[in-house]
Assembly symmetry: C2
Homo-oligomer: 388 residues x 2
Amino acid sequence: MRSYLSHLECTACGRVCSAEQVHTVCPACGRVLYARYDLERARNAVDPKMVAGRPRSMWRWWEVLPVRDPRNIVSLGEGDTPLLPAPRLGQRLGCARLYIKDESLNPTGTFKARGQAAAVSRAKELGVKGLVIPSAGNAAGAMAAYAARAGLPAYVFMPQDAPEANKKECAVAGAHLELVAGHIGDAGRLSRVRAQELGLLDVSTLREPYRVEGKKIMGYEIVEGLGWRYPGAIVYPTGGGTGLVGMWKAFDEMEALGWVEGPRPKMFCVQAEGCAPIVRAFQEGKERAEPFPHPQTIASGLRVPAPFADYLILQVVRASGGSALAVSDREMVECVREMASLEGVFACPEGAATLAGLKRLLAEGRINPDEPIILLNTGSGLKYLDVL
Amino acid sequence: MRSYLSHLECTACGRVCSAEQVHTVCPACGRVLYARYDLERARNAVDPKMVAGRPRSMWRWWEVLPVRDPRNIVSLGEGDTPLLPAPRLGQRLGCARLYIKDESLNPTGTFKARGQAAAVSRAKELGVKGLVIPSAGNAAGAMAAYAARAGLPAYVFMPQDAPEANKKECAVAGAHLELVAGHIGDAGRLSRVRAQELGLLDVSTLREPYRVEGKKIMGYEIVEGLGWRYPGAIVYPTGGGTGLVGMWKAFDEMEALGWVEGPRPKMFCVQAEGCAPIVRAFQEGKERAEPFPHPQTIASGLRVPAPFADYLILQVVRASGGSALAVSDREMVECVREMASLEGVFACPEGAATLAGLKRLLAEGRINPDEPIILLNTGSGLKYLDVL
């Protein structure tokens, strides 16, 4: 097992940093750092067939993951989630090849497990003494679980009104849970103070370079699942946007590795009407998003009023020829029912939002119904019983 | 893809039935029917390496599963759950090679998905028009999801005091949910009446021959995960016991296929103090269990006062050199915490019961701590938030 990780690079100013030290954001401009790999050499060492033959888990893509020593991998079996054909739903919508990428089969019940597996593993490898996270939900639950498995102390700052499921999964994993009177932004400020005080690593969304590495593997798996062909469209529920920008990063890498070619999928960003900063910025033609005032939605993963990677999300959506749109909480709840009763997938509201979005995109003629379409269900509806 | 299914055989009287017709229990004596395969011919057609190279899911073991036409497979991505090393927990208990088989990564969050995937698929193949189940919990949720995916109507009879999560997952999948004032036995009686009235198949635990076929694959996966060697012990939380008897059936098959040999694992059956019919029968040296009066436990999966396959469970536990023991609800809750905080696995109370059981078995010298030990976590703690 060998990682081809070579360095870190700023997504905004291009600043290069060593990957062998702990970094959070770009030391020059404060924006998102990406991990970069020596893909030229990896291309000669590995091919998709080799990867397919390895034991299941996200870690079978080790050449393009950031952990150097396998003993540092902190895994709960994340990744390799099913890409489910959705023929009954497809027939209703007139889509010939509709799929649900069902991330609810991850540890902790959501795709957040992927990012935390990568971030916690690399933090352990780099000798980090403990972790801190501000989160309104599932990222905290995942972080608490992986930190527990790594034997690292974990501090979670969570808005008081966060879902019960998330509070309980943090508590049961032994994380230090602090409930904050305020929203995720307030939790973030407290979290960064605590990180500095105690010398801990803040694993907030895209404020450290490795969560996106775990999430990007969804892109590898989807393209592998389609026989190393791109789908026509990916409909993605966008809060922090790590998965969306991660998959685009995966496409860059897969092309550099020579594993796929041809037109990339259109990337569609679905948000909640009550918290749609990216949709506004997209419609107004802006490069960055304004913080969305009074964010409100039952989809806690979409309640991100000021995504740190706003500029990357907007770049990806535009470069792909996709778009951004908002759906209502009511539509989400109806689509939870529709997905469960037609395909047996009990999605979270975020995942169901992609179905609501798809309907509108089909009506507007923005998605070709004859091409493979991927709905990304980011987690299990079982974590949202109190709001459904 | 080819199934080597040959016939059905009664586990008690040996009566042989055709596998090409719908059967429930043995038409001669009313006990459990098992599916039998032509393992001599399968042995020449497949080996473990071929199975390992197939796409992930329970269905990669198709030779020993009962579906003949792959188009009848109703899958949500069940199976191939992680066999997680548990080194931190192992160190605390003095176990050199402790593993958690984490079934919470199945669709619907529990191992019930395996059994329902097999039963619903085969029911579809045999032309069944609809399904009915009495269940206090997770089996109903799984059945509702797979029936929805298959496009088959589903009727669920559930005790009024069943967990919220299970009621909601049935409702959202569009199942006809009837809440019964009484316990699982009462639900079972109503369920069988409805099945007769409407001409539906009753998929109660071990009252049809195929759920156990899905569950048995846990046995294949565990032995494969250990490099085609048996573990020393499997600690299993026993309600209906399908997984326990299913794994033993898998061992029979794997030996006939020439895939594994050597002493089989000791099978330990853990029940709740408030519902321990098998433990009583085991201690009293009986071949069958008396119905347990006033069953009560937070572990809804263990609240089975009169398991239909009692005689098979007792045979397996005795033949393996294992034993049966009961733990308290309080121990389960403590062990949920211990497993989550040391290994990051948020187990259901049933899964945590295996840890409580292991502690006692180690103290009594019944398990060799130097051999591989498997704790079977049957599902996610997220479905039990109201009782934890």
